[in-house]
Structures are given as structure tokens and as C-alpha cells.
């Protein structure tokens, strides 16, 4: 009696070797896809969206590339997921994590074909990952005590991160900018406080960090364009007709004259509100919501600068910068904290007018203005800068740093190799494979730069045999070099996250011996 099918029509099931093969191939395909973007000489990808307008993105950021892929292979989805998490958690290393996971799976595939059980491989990988982490921990550099050195560490990290991106030409400039911006945050990881404004035109070199704050808004008509010693009230309140919030209230009138009266009362109410606001003794009023013409006129009359419709983050940032509180009621002028700044003026960047607040009381937030030839360049520049900012802000909290340029991988590989030699049993094969997967990262970096990877990695390995060696691949000169001298540094937190998430993902995919795919949900609208 043949078994009737257990599953629904379109559902299918893949078992054992086939399932493992399907997930290996899927995961490796994804890893190979982003592999060529790794390292300072990595190439970019063009992504065209299928949505309206077929908008084009040019990027080198692993997370961005993977996010926009339409993937059907479940194992590949796991990799996309880890790259996304890496992006959220530390911001950088999104490509490395996928490449490492892909390499781990590639090695695992070889082991599986030579009849080693996946569980044995997992056990080996776990031991290896733990050992690799220990190895890194032993070699970390921590300059937290020495502020000057710490800053230079940060500069180096920023430069290392940026050199694989579009900004590599001006990496010093941008690294300086990113470090300054992050120092302003004073240890907070809230990157929202750093505003990035993109304005096409000029060249990337014209980008700058503004000490004050720039709001991409216009000043109301007839209001002063320049205010010195500004007192700012930051508000979130309705400046159109204030609705009556009591439920069920409605206006019922029986004659035209009454309508006029009510309207008058409404106006009076608004006037009152404006008066109350003015009573704070301010000369600048920034509102999150709309300001209607009538109150705007009132403000103009009083010589107060009124800015409407600042978005929510703008308001929050402004609150942070100027030290004012975000107000919604105005009955107690004496106890509301006002924001202060030395000068408000309208400035021109390219074609656009922006409002510039300078000489602010508390410098917790700042603005970075990016200039560039086209939108694509700017978008990519923003992503790159974001990566750098993320890494820096994480490093401020966890100040441990490592050398870069494939150095950490070689250090880990060496330790893991030693562990493999000491371990008895089948696990040692898996541990050895782990070290091979680690070496694949410097290999890829060299390959992408068009260098002779086999030669370089072999040299590197020999160098690393010496205790306390700082050798890594110097892509610029195309040889093995001292990474400390070249100033190539990476954050420990990023490397650790790469190592752990890649191992975890590889483990997860390895454990699978069966893939069950449900019938895709039918779309009604396609009918």
C-alpha cells in the first residue's frame, strides 16, 4: 500500500543528504555573492529595485546588498538574517560575517562527504570558536586610560572601516568627522543624535561636520532671518485650529452672526495661545506640527522666528542640542526650560536654504553635511559613514581594539590549529576546517585586490609563527606588512560578533537534516 501524500499539494519535503546539499549550496551562493565586496579593494554591486521607478542603488555594504535580495532558499535566508543582525548590533562587518559563515559551511560540506557526522562537526566548531575568541582576547589592545591614544585608535578604526567604502579617497577627512561626531555623543549609542544631511553638488571633500545644528527647514515669511542670542522654545503642539478634545462636542448655531462669533472665539483662543508662548520671552519657536498662517503672522508681528513641521527626530535632536524641553502646554512660562544658542541664521548649501543653529549650549548632537556628485554617491556615502559611526560608538563603550588586515583571522587560525593538534578524535578534523575557513578571509581580501593570495597568505602564516607578530596584508603596497605601523585597526566587538554569529549560523544550518516547504500562500490579486 503506497503512502498517500501527507502534505498539501504544493508542499514538499527534502530529506537527508539532499536537504543538506540544498542548504549548503544556497548558503554558499549567498556568501559568494558578497565575497567580492570584501576588503579595501572590494567591488561594488548595482541593485535595481523591482518597484516603481526601478531605482538604482550602488553599494558595497553587505547588509544592504543582502537586504534587497529576493531569496527563496531557506538556508540563504539564515545568512541574510545574521548580516542584518550584525548591522543592527555593531553596524560593520556585515560582509565578513556572511563570508565566514559561507566558508564554514564549505568546509563542513567537505567533511560531510568524507563521512563525518554533522554533530561531530558542530562539536568541533564550537570548541574552535571558543578557542578563537580566547586567542583574540589575549591579544586585544585597550587604550581607554590614555585619552589621546584612544582617540588615535578611534581614528584608525574609522579609517580602516572607511577604506573599503566609496569614501576611501578622503578617508582621513571623514574619519576625523566621524570621530568628532561620536565624541560629542559622550558615550551614548544613540546615533539618531547625529544628523546626516545629503545635498547633491560639490565634491565629497566638501562635506563637513557642523558644530551646531542644521535644520532642513525654511523660515516663515516676514520673520527675521538672523537672530543672535536666541532663546528657543521647542514645542509639540497643534498650531492650527485647536480641536476641542472633549468627546461629543459639536458646534450648533442657528444664525450667521453666531458663526462669526464662534470663529472670533476660536481666533481669540489661538491668539491667547500665541500670547502665552510669547510670554516665555522667546525669539525662536520651533514646532513639530503645522503652524497655520494666522499664528505665523502673529509670530512675525512679534518678531519671533517660527519654524513649522520639524520632524520628530529633528525636534528631539534640537532639544538635545539646545537643552530645551519639548513643551506642549504653555501655562507656566517660568518653569519651562528654554533652549539657547548664540546665533540662528539661514545658510545656503548648494541651492537650498537651511537653518543653522550655532553656538549651542549642549553639544550632544551635531550635523554632518554630505556633498557629492549624485544621489547614488551620497546614499553610499551615508551608508559608509553610518557604518563608521556605528563602529565608533560601540568602541567608545568597549574600548578594546585589534589590528586589522587579516591579522585577527591569522591569530585565531594559529591558535585553532594548535588546538586541532591537541584534540583527539574526529573533532580535530572539524577544528582544522575551522582554521581553514578563518584563513579564507585574508585570502579573499588579497584576491579581491588582485594580489597573489596563495603567496601572501603563506607568508603571513610563516610570519605569524613568531610570537607577538603584527603582520597582516597591506593591500595598498600588495605585500605583508606590520599592521601596527600602517595604522590598520579594527574594533574587538565587531570581530567577536562576526566570529560568534557566523559560527552560530553555520551550526544552525548544519543541524538541519530535513527541509519542509509549505505550499506558498496563494495571492488573490494575481487571478
Amino acid at each position: 500500500m503506497p503512502i498517500d501524500k501527507i502534505f498539501k499539494d504544493d508542499a514538499n519535503e527534502e530529506k537527508g543528504e539532499r536537504a543538506r546539499m540544498a542548504s549548503f549550496i544556497g548558503a554558499m551562493a549567498v556568501a559568494d555573492l558578497v565575497k567580492s565586496t570584501l576588503g579595501p579593494k572590494g567591488m561594488d554591486k548595482i541593485l535595481q529595485s523591482t518597484g516603481r521607478g526601478h531605482s538604482v542603488t550602488v553599494t558595497n555594504d553587505g547588509a544592504t546588498i543582502l537586504k534587497s535580495l529576493h531569496i527563496d532558499n531557506p538556508a540563504a535566508k539564515v545568512l541574510v538574517d545574521i548580516s542584518k543582525v550584525q548591522d543592527d548590533e555593531v553596524g560593520d562587518g556585515t560582509t565578513s560575517v556572511v563570508v565566514l559563515a559561507g566558508e564554514l559551511l564549505r568546509e563542513a560540506e567537505k567533511l560531510v562527504t568524507s563521512k563525518i557526522h554533522p554533530m561531530t562537526i558542530i562539536a568541533g566548531y564550537r570548541m574552535a570558536a571558543e578557542c578563537a575568541r580566547e586567542a583574540l582576547l589575549k591579544r586585544v589592545i585597550d587604550n581607554k586610560e590614555n585619552a589621546e591614544k584612544f582617540r588615535s585608535d578611534l581614528m584608525k578604526i574609522a579609517m580602516t572601516t572607511l577604506c573599503s567604502k566609496i569614501l576611501s579617497q578622503d578617508k582621513e577627512h571623514f574619519a576625523e568627522m566621524a570621530v568628532d561626531a561620536v565624541f560629542r555623543l559622550k558615550g551614548s549609542t544613540n546615533l539618531e543624535a547625529i544628523q546626516i544631511i545629503k545635498k547633491p553638488g560639490g565634491s565629497l571633500r566638501d562635506s563637513f561636520l557642523d558644530e551646531g545644528f542644521i535644520l532642513d527647514k525654511k523660515i516663515g515669511i516676514g520673520q527675521p532671518k538672523r537672530i543672535e542670542n536666541a532663546k528657543i522654545l521647542v514645542a509639540n503642539t497643534a498650531m492650527d485650529t485647536d480641536k476641542v478634545k472633549i468627546y461629543g462636542a459639536r458646534v450648533r448655531v442657528d444664525s450667521m452672526s453666531k458663526v462669526a462669533e464662534i470663529e472670533g472665539a476660536e481666533k481669540e483662543k489661538m491668539k491667547d495661545k500665541v500670547k502665552k508662548i510669547l510670554a516665555h520671552g522667546i525669539n525662536c519657536f520651533v514646532n513639530r506640527q503645522l503652524i497655520y498662517n494666522f499664528p505665523e503672522e502673529l509670530f512675525a508681528d512679534a518678531g519671533v522666528l517660527a519654524i513649522e513641521h520639524a520632524d520628530f527626530e529633528g525636534i528631539e535632536r534640537l532639544g538635545l542640542v539646545t537643552g530645551g524641553e519639548i513643551a506642549s502646554t504653555f501655562d507656566n512660562p517660568e518653569s519651562v526650560k528654554l533652549g539657547h544658542c548664540k546665533l540662528i541664521e539661514e545658510i545656503m548649501i548648494g541651492e537650498d536654504k537651511l537653518i543653522h543653529f550655532s553656538g549651542v549650549a549642549m553639544g550632544q548632537a551635531c550635523s554632518i553635511v554630505l556633498r557629492g556628485a549624485s544621489h547614488h554617491v551620497l546614499d553610499e556615502a551615508e551608508r559608509s559613514l553610518h557604518d563608521a559611526l556605528c563602529v565608533l560608538s560601540q568602541t567608545v563603550n568597549d574600548s578594546r581594539v585589534l589590528l586589522g588586515g587579516g591579522w585577527p583571522e591569522m591569530v585565531m587560525a594559529k591558535e585553532v590549529d594548535e588546538l586541532a593538534r591537541k584534540t583527539a578524535g574526529k573533532k580535530s578534523h572539524a577544528i582544522e576546517a575551522f582554521s581553514r575557513a578563518l584563513v579564507a578571509i585574508p585570502t579573499t581580501i588579497a584576491d579581491n585586490a588582485g594580489l597573489d593570495s596563495a603567496e601572501l597568505v603563506a607568508q603571513l602564516r610563516a610570519e605569524h609563527h613568531n610570537e607577538g607578530c603584527n603582520a597582516g596584508i597591506d593591500v595598498i603596497s600588495g605585500a605583508v606588512g606590520d599592521m601596527e605601523e600602517r595604522g590598520i585597526y579594527e574594533a574587538f566587538k565587531v570581530k567577536q560578533a562576526v566570529l560568534l554569529s557566523a559560527t552560530e549560523a553555520a551550526e544552525m544550518i548544519l543541524r538541519v537534516d530535513e527541509i519542509i516547504t509549505c505550499a506558498p500562500r496563494r495571492r488573490e490579486d494575481r487571478m
Binding site: I6, F7, K77, D81, I82, V251, R252, L500, C518
Partner: protein, 535 residues
């Protein structure tokens, strides 16, 4: 298809649209059902035990789940066959009742079906097989009761509990840090357990997950974790000795349930209404302040104005907190949920030693920790992990561990795992079989065979020689008459489960045997399957 004819030779219509239906009868029906049940069991078989593999499931919307938990796998599978659905039900009811052993129960049922098929081939009537199974299951359950051991634990000495939870966790992907997770689970259960009544309300344990960090960062919080932040960005991020007002009314003017209208027809009325509105907001905030609250947690949103007033009066607030969380907060802080501002009194405030907001990673995600609560009877397990699937799987694993700990508190009898319990039951059932005269004897022997299949699968998944290992363990059990020998899955070097500290709960094991037997009986009794053919 059987047709009936009336006295004029015309066919009766017994089933509507008879020709469009397929029908299986008699032995064919049973064989088909057994085949379907076995197919489901076969899928799960490789997930059993500490070295079991995972399944990757792709849902109808393309979302991916990776799991090792029997109940989850079956639930996510798109099953169409009726009998297969019964098996899904079976694992679900084990999940509801016990929470653990969901894979084992299905594997057990599959083995029973397989044995039943053999007996059917011999020509034994399905009902006799079913009855034989029933008797055998009774023998097995009684035997388990006899060999079960009580083990003592109390709040200070919870090591045995941790050991049992570790057995459960060792088959999951989280086995890397099973020790710490097991401790977390046990501590959580002990924190909320009512040891007098031997009852545990698992609702009091909240399991939250957030992507990022690593599994080792998973922590137990003696308090509540809410995935919310302060309503106003400038409110303080940390409050010590918080007095919490828990409100289910919005910070908005009242909305009576009955229909009403407020007509405004004169300017004066407009004015008074405006005044009242302002006063209303003011009063609401004042009332909270008056009773001494230092934190307001509200189920609803507030108006911008109310928000600012709160901020202005230095009264931090959290809005849009879900109903369940609100209840947990109320339990933890010993506060009362207040539906109206008028009913706020100082006694109704909850107390917590520390409330703080914590942000994660590079995104703007924040969570609110409420700790050092007056009444620590509600705890949160906060899971971190590399990716979403990991978190989900960890949640399921923790759930299993929590259930096991709870079951132990309810009934502290244990049996030994690693297949030891199954093997000794198999021996007991086999011995008992000879006492029954009649055809049932064969069915009882078949039951004993079926029990062997669980340790067999364990050995198979661990890469051991299944038959060799099983027979070795079996003979060892008989020789030394000790029911603690099981399969050495982790390659520790001994198969004495007492030394390996591999325990399972007695009720879990009993339930597995009973449930599996019940379902198999049900399947065996079906002798006619009528289904709509393809349309």
C-alpha cells in the same frame, strides 16, 4: 464501492455524490492509516535525543523556522492527511499537558503502529490488538511507578532540578549553554512557585527575546521587562524607588459609553469648554502626583499636552503597555490596576526598587526594566541570540525546560532517561505478556517491541550501532536487575544514567505512553475512510 439496491433493482444512494468520493474499507483502510502515521513519525525520528537533527521549515509566506521541537515541527508542517493530523494533535496535547517529550510521543506512536501492522498481517483483529496495547500500557505505567524515585529538593538545593532541565535542553540547539539556561529556568520557576500547594503558574514567567548579543548573555530578571520606552524623550531614564500608578484609562477627557452631545452655541460655552478641558488634563496629572506616584504606566496613549504636563511635573510615564504586561507589572509590583483617576489611592500604587531604560545596539531600540519589585512573584527571562531563528528556538527550549521544572515541583518522582525507562518497561511488559492467555498476548509482546524503538532511535541518532547497543544495555539491565542503564548518547563512557544525571519526569513518561497508546487505538479502530476525491 458497495452499492445497495431496492426491490426494483434501482441503486440506493447512501452517500451523497457517491462516485465522487473515494472510499477505503477494512484492512486496506487500516493499512493506509498506519502508513500515514508512520510517515509522520519517520520525519520526527531523526530529531530524537541529544544528537538529534533539526528540521528547517519554510512557511507559506517564505518565513523560515528551524526547530528540533516535535510539537513545533508538526504544527508548522502543512499536513493534509487526516491521520497525520491526528499525530499532530497527539504531539500538541503532550505539549499542553507536559510541555516536553513531544517528539518522543510521536516516535512511540509510530512504533506502535508499525508493530500493529505486523500483527494485522498475522490476521489478528485490530480490536484485539488495541486491547492488547491497552493492557500493555497499563503494565508499563505501573512499572514506571514502581521504579520511579522521589528526589528531594528545596529552594536552596535545586541542583536536581537543574540536572533534569539540562536533560531536556541537551537535545536542543542551545545545548552549548545548557547549564546556564537550565539554572535560569529553575530559578525562574522557583521564584514563582507556590511550594505549599505545589503549583506553578507559568503565566508569571515572561519570556522576552531580542536579537543581538550572544546566547550567553541570556539573563533572568527578577522583575518585568517591557518592550516600551518613556513617552517623552526627555523623561529620566532611571527611577529609583519607583511608586507606580498602573492605569487603564487614557490621559484624555472622559468618553462616556452612552451617547451624548455637547452643543456649543455661544461664545461663552466655547470658552468654558476650553477651560474645562485644560483643567481636566491638569487634574489628571495632579491626581497621579497627589497619591505619590513617581511613574505612570498606562494602557492607552496620551495626548501631547498630557505628555508634556507629565514631563513638566517630573512624572515619567510609559504608554501603550499591553494588557498582559500590565497585569504582570501589577503582580510584580504589588500594585492594583486602576481604571479611573478618581480611584487612585496611595495603597494602589505598585512599588519597584529600580526602573530603568536600556538601549541596545546601534538601532534606537529601548526596553524598560522594572526590577527589585515589592513582590518578586513575576520574573522575566530575557533571551539574546545571534539571529531571529535562534531566539525563537531558544524560547521554545526554555518553555520546555520551564515545563519540566514545573512538573517536578508538582510531582517529584523521576525516572531515568536515555531510553532507560523504555527499556525496563519493555522488559516488564514482555514478562507480563506470558501471563495473558489469548490473542492479546501477541499484541502485548508487540508493545514491548515498540517500546524498544525509542532507545533504538536514540542510539541511531547518536551514531551508535542500534541493535548491538540496545541488546547490550538490555542484557545489562536484566543481569544486574537495575533499571538505570540507558543509551550513552553523549559518549561519556558509562551507560548508568544515574551517573550521567539524565532524568525525566515520571508524569511526562507516563503521559507519553498513555497518549501514544490512545491515539494508536483510535487509528486501529477506523475501518472505513470516506474522503472527497480530488476536485
Amino acid at each position: 464501492m458497495a452499492l445497495a439496491f431496492d426491490e426494483f433493482g434501482r441503486p440506493f444512494i447512501i452517500l451523497r455524490e457517491q462516485d465522487q468520493k473515494t472510499r477505503l474499507r477494512g484492512i486496506d483502510a487500516q493499512k493506509a492509516n498506519i502508513a500515514a502515521g508512520k510517515a509522520v513519525a519517520r520525519i520526527l525520528r531523526s530529531s530524537l535525543g541529544p544528537k538529534g537533527m533539526d528540521k528547517m521549515l519554510q512557511g507559506p509566506d517564505g518565513d523560515v523556522t528551524i526547530s528540533n521541537d516535535g510539537a513545533t515541527i508538526l504544527e508548522q508542517m502543512d499536513v493534509d492527511n487526516q491521520i497525520a493530523k491526528l499525530m499532530v494533535e497527539l504531539s500538541r496535547s503532550q505539549d499542553y499537558e507536559i510541555g516536553d517529550g513531544t517528539t518522543g510521543v510521536v516516535v512511540m506512536a509510530g512504533a506502535l503502529l508499525e508493530q500493529a501492522e505486523r500483527q494485522l498481517d498475522r490476521g489478528i483483529h485490530p480490536i484485539r490488538i488495541a486491547e492488547g496495547y491497552e493492557m500493555a500500557s497499563r503494565v508499563a505505567v505501573e512499572h514506571l511507578e514502581r521504579i520511579a524515585q522521589k528526589f528531594e529538593f528545596d529552594v536552596d538545593n535545586y541542583e536536581p532540578l537543574v540536572q533534569t532541565c539540562m536533560t531536556t535542553l541537551s537535545s536542543k540547539i542551545v545545548n552549548r549553554c545548557k547549564r546556564s539556561l537550565a539554572e535560569i529556568a529553575v530559578k525562574a520557576v522557583l521564584a514563582v512557585a507556590d511550594l505549599e500547594r505545589r503549583d506553578v503558574n507559568l503565566d508569571l514567567i515572561k519570556v522576552e527575546g531580542k536579537v543581538g548579543g550572544k546566547l550567553e548573555d541570556t539573563e533572568l530578571i527578577y522583575g518585568i521587562l517591557v518592550d516600551k520606552d518613556m513617552s517623552h524623550p526627555q523623561m529620566p531614564k532611571q527611577i529609583e524607588d519607583a511608586h507606580i500608578a498602573i492605569l487603564t484609562c487614557p490621559f484624555e477627557p472622559p468618553k462616556p459609553k452612552t451617547k451624548h452631545k455637547v452643543d456649543i452655541d455661544t461664545v461663552e460655552k466655547f470658552e468654558t469648554l476650553r477651560k474645562q478641558e485644560q483643567q481636566y488634563f491638569d487634574e489628571m496629572v495632579q491626581k497621579c502626583k497627589d497619591v505619590g506616584a513617581t511613574l505612570v504606566i498606562c494602557q492607552w496613549g496620551f495626548d501631547d499636552e498630557a505628555n508634556h504636563l507629565l514631563m513638566h511635573r517630573n512624572l515619567p510615564a510609559v504608554r501603550w503597555v499591553g494588557g498582559v504586561e500590565l497585569e504582570l507589572i501589577a503582580i510584580a509590583t504589588g500594585g492594583r490596576i486602576v481604571p479611573r483617576f478618581q480611584e487612585l489611592t496611595p495603597e494602589k500604587l505598585g512599588k519597584a526598587g529600580m526602573v530603568r531604560e536600556k538601549s541596545f545596539g546601534t538601532t534606537k531600540e529601548r526596553m524598560l526594566y522594572i526590577e527589585h519589585c515589592a513582590n518578586s512573584k513575576a520574573v522575566t527571562i530575557f533571551i539574546r541570540g545571534g539571529n531571529k531563528m535562534m531566539i525563537e528556538e531558544t524560547k521554545r527550549s526554555i518553555h520546555d525546560a520551564l515545563c519540566v521544572a514545573r512538573n517536578l515541583i508538582r510531582n517529584n518522582s523521576i525516572v531515568y532517561g536515555g531510553g532507560a525507562a523504555e527499556i525496563t518497561c519493555s522488559l516488564a511488559v514482555d514478562a507480563a505478556a506470558d501471563k495473558y492467555p489469548g490473542v492479546e498476548q501477541y499484541a502485548i509482546r508487540a508493545f514491548a517491541e515498540a517500546l524498544d524503538s525509542v532507545p533504538m532511535a536514540l542510539a541511531e541518532n547518536s551514531g551508535l550501532q542500534p541493535i548491538e547497543t540496545l541488546s547490550a544495555v538490555k542484557s545489562q539491565q536484566i543481569k544486574e536487575n537495575i533499571p538505570f542503564y540507558g543509551i550513552d548518547c553523549n559518549d561519556v563512557g558509562t551507560n548508568d544514567m544515574r551517573e550521567q544525571n539524565v532524568f525525566e519526569t515520571l508524569i511526562g513518561k507516563q503521559q507519553q505512553i498513555l497518549l501514544a497508546t490512545q491515539v494508536v487505538k483510535m487509528i486501529l479502530k477506523i475501518d472505513d475512510v470516506i474522503s472527497n476525491s480530488e476536485y
